[in-house]
Symmetry: C4
Amino acid sequence: MDGAGSWHGGAAAVVTLTFDVDAETPILAHGGRYAGHAGTMSHQSYGPDVGLPRILDLLEELEVPATFFVPGWVAERRPGLAASIVERGHEVAHHSYAHRPPTSMSPQEERADFVRALEVFALQGIEVTGFRAALWEASWATADLVAEHGLRYDSSLMGDDRPYRIATAAGEIVELPVHWSLDDWEQYAYLPEPNIGSVIESPRKVLELWRAELDGMRAYRCLFNLCAHPFLSGRPGRAMALRHLIEYARECGDVAFARCRDVAAAALADPQVRSRPHERPRVDPEIHPY
Amino acid sequence: MDGAGSWHGGAAAVVTLTFDVDAETPILAHGGRYAGHAGTMSHQSYGPDVGLPRILDLLEELEVPATFFVPGWVAERRPGLAASIVERGHEVAHHSYAHRPPTSMSPQEERADFVRALEVFALQGIEVTGFRAALWEASWATADLVAEHGLRYDSSLMGDDRPYRIATAAGEIVELPVHWSLDDWEQYAYLPEPNIGSVIESPRKVLELWRAELDGMRAYRCLFNLCAHPFLSGRPGRAMALRHLIEYARECGDVAFARCRDVAAAALADPQVRSRPHERPRVDPEIHPY
Amino acid sequence: MDGAGSWHGGAAAVVTLTFDVDAETPILAHGGRYAGHAGTMSHQSYGPDVGLPRILDLLEELEVPATFFVPGWVAERRPGLAASIVERGHEVAHHSYAHRPPTSMSPQEERADFVRALEVFALQGIEVTGFRAALWEASWATADLVAEHGLRYDSSLMGDDRPYRIATAAGEIVELPVHWSLDDWEQYAYLPEPNIGSVIESPRKVLELWRAELDGMRAYRCLFNLCAHPFLSGRPGRAMALRHLIEYARECGDVAFARCRDVAAAALADPQVRSRPHERPRVDPEIHPY
Amino acid sequence: MDGAGSWHGGAAAVVTLTFDVDAETPILAHGGRYAGHAGTMSHQSYGPDVGLPRILDLLEELEVPATFFVPGWVAERRPGLAASIVERGHEVAHHSYAHRPPTSMSPQEERADFVRALEVFALQGIEVTGFRAALWEASWATADLVAEHGLRYDSSLMGDDRPYRIATAAGEIVELPVHWSLDDWEQYAYLPEPNIGSVIESPRKVLELWRAELDGMRAYRCLFNLCAHPFLSGRPGRAMALRHLIEYARECGDVAFARCRDVAAAALADPQVRSRPHERPRVDPEIHPY
């Protein structure tokens, strides 16, 4: 099938490899007091310090592009980090400033956090065109913020497994949907305090899970929007699993790799990409108490 | 063996594929405040919007009937949904109005919720003959409500793995028992807030679990009453696992597929289907404090 | 090797198949209020009503003996249950009255619960010679109670993987140790309220786990003291796994099956069975706050 | 490649088998009241009483060296334990006195606990050169304490997967990093009260996980710093898995086994072992509330 002009370009599935370079922020968002936990902080700094360079080398070797969602706090604290990603041909995108979920902030706080990260990227000369909310916990205002600030896509929602359009107060954006089954956090993360995760899975199981989902997505022509974290998937055995996944996808012969910004641009130009309603359900407190 | 007149019709096991079309309700039943969580709401709307059509297509292709338990709130909010299921030859059944567990409501609340959903279905011209409680958390009054309103079966209890009769204040009904091992929720569901689920399993493991249970049930002539959710099993890799399960069951050659209402009717007409006691155990607060 | 006079009789490993016929008690011990939860109660009554007969048939077919630990409350509520087990050549043993952990009771409560169950068994003409604490949460007084009432063994502790002697205030008893890795509860149990369990494992994984442990125990000459529950392992696919485990053990050729009481008697008569200290560690509240 | 003078000696990966001989301490650190739980205490005493001798025999048979981290409280309560480990050619290292995480203690408490364990080892004539914090929950003062008391390495942090240098107020030490994926606790531990663990994994899965990580580490020349516990990995089926892991590593032909102290000495002498920053991140309470 000819895919000219379509978001998928004729591929059976499109793979966007995305990496959330969270470093210390998800833990500090649990509580600033965890800055005093040296062990836990080292568990997080492994991401930018060891996992990230390893993943960049792997992507270069396999010649696939990727998108890195970076919190502003992380970009600010490690000044050369975002630029070093862009230099290798990848995309850097907006992942909040502090990695606090929008649903845990007031509208004013969400806006301030959103803008502060934009300022960091502007100062560093990093052009961002997409956004992902911390923990994917977008509020109903999040998409408005994205559009209002000229970004073209969000990647926090789960309303489909293909790109879809969202109408916002500031115009239309495209959603590149995510899902917990394509996130390494749920499979690999474990910390006793703050208490995170249940059982640590083996890379083989995770590879099996992701391959099954990729095969399903090839049958239904979907966006395989993988979300990995350098502090998790950057570890040796897991980096090997990531390599196997990428190699498998390439061997399929019908899978395309792309950066999120490129998929978003193609989706916005494809009239067959549908729009989905994006509004808060009305709740009757008699029926569903607060 | 000839099974004429028996609930199983001579099959080694009977498969009832059931889908709980919960949409946003299980989350809103945790707290109406979650309506403000756009990410979480999109995780749930995926069910009716993407998962349900995919599952309906799969059932049509494989030519197997199924039963869809729909909360009244969902049927009301998406007016054509229930009818579109019935049109394709499947059954729609009563799954409460608000998806609140009966054990979390007063008797008056449970009754009001039960009746309100009936009114929705009546208004939409959907004839329902069976009921399933939210979270399978039936109260001791639930079966009475089912019988009193002329329904013929309940599918919330776990007192056997074959249909059984229950005597209620309003006459006899049949129970089509469920079990957590045949529910996709426990295997696939994950959300950080409200915090749901532990580790996300791979479709291969779930298929292995369900095939093992089906094989066991074929040996013991049971009702394989699968409970899946469009927002979970409608995802690509899981839909493939569901396809493999159905194909495996068909290849067995000794398995029958049926809608719940048909199994219920057959069971009520089969004198060998036994009655099981259905009464609240007496508890001594000295022995088992409240 | 000749094992005459030894607890193991020359076998590489001894298998004691034990079944805790808990019925409703573990849930009621969480809170008597759960008697009002019809779904949860049916989940538990499945054990004595469906799982137990199935397991008894399986044991008969495979010609292996077993031990059934029954709470007094269960024996009392289902008057013929204990006798029906004994009639088929198995052992019934003491599993408390109410299934409350000794560590959650005062010494007076623990004693009263212990004696009350003994009275039930005496009334029913069931001779019990061993005890198992609810949740294996023995107090330091538990072993004293066991010895004081003339029982010969306890099966609640985890201080070894071979039988060992314990000195009590009322004389010596033998411990037939248990362990969570040989318990089906941890693998299969799941309930939303009270919230029990994490992910439901497949019978294949459980069989793999138990076979691995049995192979290890054959290498180290241990007691494979399996603890299963009719409401869990009595389900079809799991009963098949149990069958495969027993068949595997028989095929090994070096494994013996026995009732707990027989292992206990052999262990008490074997001078090589060692004694292990059984006393509460002294704790300094400055070092380990309460 | 010639590895003379390097920390790895030319091996593709270096394996340090470490065993945390915690006995009762992790539970008592949850609460001294658990001393009254006979079942739970027996679950822990299995470690030094049964698991430890089994592991020592296994290591002797396979001719590999190991490092045992022992809390002072355990060494004191079982006077011959530490010496019996050293006599068999292994290393004993400092694992706190009471197994309380430094992050849960005041600086004064952490120091007192640290010194008290040193005194126990001095009294027993055990020379220790390295430290590991309970639960790996080091504070920022922990490394200072290690250096100040003349120890040469810490093994509690996760900032890399190769040895690295840390500058402290009292001079430089080397870090031998750990990670939860190489800890048996997270895979095997389960107790109902205190509530520890989720699902018990099979030894086969754990072996698969560790082999995958070892293969990855061989590709990236890392330190495979395994952390096992005698009360967990000393059980029969798990000891077999440990045996298979060691045998696999030996068959690789490019893996070296070493005690932690030897790796630490080699790393300190290797100028290519890098230094990593070791300081508390500055947190703005407006951004990351306490």
